[in-house]
């Protein structure tokens, strides 16, 4: 048994949510079935380099899907779904103009555009802010289109079924009438840590999102390759961070776009974009930072 096989076996047995895992090797795929006894097992630390190109299959074939939700769903008791006065906290519900879905304004972010000008706005997913209506300047509303726009779509990185992807991300400029509508805080979490954090197996994390609000969990895998259903098509991602909730679900439809942060420092770690009944998948924030030219800290 190679060192990689040993690491994989440990990974599978440490995570009862997952019944099968294998290295994504097209020549000699190795598949190991884990015993799913339903008992929670504490996460163990595995060096990240041992988990490269890991693919994951889920109990009952439960697919990983993007986590936006139809616009008809609304819980008035959930403050993450309520209207926010300016400056608006991230972690709250948003809806693009003309969209029939809801998602989350994940984090306050700052970036440099191609003209070398600095902007302040929000980070979320491509499938939340843009999807098929990729239009610079598209109005983004909070909590929904019944309220005034608070940001305008600025840039995105769309995943494609024809290639292997790393991120599903978009940013919207929150400067309206000369003022920035977004605050430097995330609802229920507060001000972000100043430095991004690379996820490692066992890392304790939190997130604040539109549907499940503030939840806590831990990293169960890094460097994962996953197939994500976008409804009409499926997209392959590589080098993804995978999370499970401490007690309850870590995420649910509508939480797409949330920022997953390291719990101890509130450091940006992953951009939540997909999940199944058992786990949550996030784009490593280092890939998002590079692609969107983000600056940390926010201000």
């Amino acid at each position: 048994m190679s060192p990689d096989d040993r690491a994989l076996t440990r990974f599978v047995h440490a995570n009862p949510h997952i019944i099968a895992a294998w290295y994504d090797d097209p020549i000699l795929p190795t598949k190991i079935i884990a015993v799913d006894d339903g008992s929670p097992t504490p996460p163990i630390t595995i060096p990240a380099h041992e988990l490269r190109s890991l693919a994951i299959e889920h109990r009952n074939g439960s697919p990983i899907r993007i986590l936006r939700t139809p616009a008809t769903h609304y819980d008035p008791r959930n403050t993450n779904q309520a209207c926010q006065n300016e400056p608006i906290s991230a972690g709250t519900q948003i809806q693009p103009h003309g969209a029939n879905w809801l998602g989350t304004a994940g984090a306050p972010v700052s970036w440099i555009d191609s003209q070398n000008a600095r902007h302040w706005g929000i980070l979320s997913n491509w499938h939340v802010l843009a999807d098929q209506d990729e239009r610079i300047g598209r109005a983004i509303h909070q909590p929904d289109t019944a309220r005034p726009e608070f940001a305008r779509l600025s840039a995105w990185s769309a995943p494609l079924p024809t290639r292997i992807n790393r991120i599903d991300a978009a940013i919207a400029d929150a400067r309206i009438d000369g003022f920035h509508t977004i605050a430097n805080r995330i609802l229920s979490l507060g001000i972000l840590g100043t430095t991004p954090l690379t996820a490692t197996v066992g890392l304790a994390v939190s997130k604040s999102g539109r549907t499940t609000a503030l939840t806590h969990g831990y990293c169960i895998g890094v460097g994962a390759s996953v197939q994500v259903s976008y409804g009409d098509f499926t997209v392959t991602f590589e080098d993804q961070d995978v999370y499970a909730g401490d007690n309850n679900d870590f995420s649910a439809p509508g939480d797409s776009g949330s920022l997953i942060v390291g719990r101890s420092c509130l450091c940006p770690t992953s951009l939540l974009f997909a999940g199944s009944d058992e786990l949550t998948v996030g784009n490593p924030i280092r890939h998002v930072t590079t692609a969107m030219n983000l600056l940390w800290p926010f201000n």
Binding site: P87, A117, R118, F150, H180, T181
Partner: protein, 64 residues
């Protein structure tokens, strides 16, 4: 040496010209140098696509 500085929300030029101390000798090249960037910034502002150089949080009440 004279030093001319032209600053707007979108244009920030700092031009030094040596060894002249004549004001016009300094200002005219500085204005000419700033003109293209200034016009570009003006067009961006007029089209609603202006840049944002400073974080300036608003306090609009938008929920009532």
């Amino acid at each position: 040496m004279c030093r001319c500085q032209i600053t707007s929300p979108a244009v920030n030029l700092d031009i030094e010209i040596k060894p002249s101390a004549d004001f016009m000798t300094c200002m005219i090249p500085a204005l000419l140098a700033a003109l293209p960037a200034f016009i570009t910034a003006l067009m961006q502002c007029m089209s609603g696509g202006g840049t944002s150089g400073v974080y300036n949080p608003g306090d609009r009440k938008r929920c009532t």
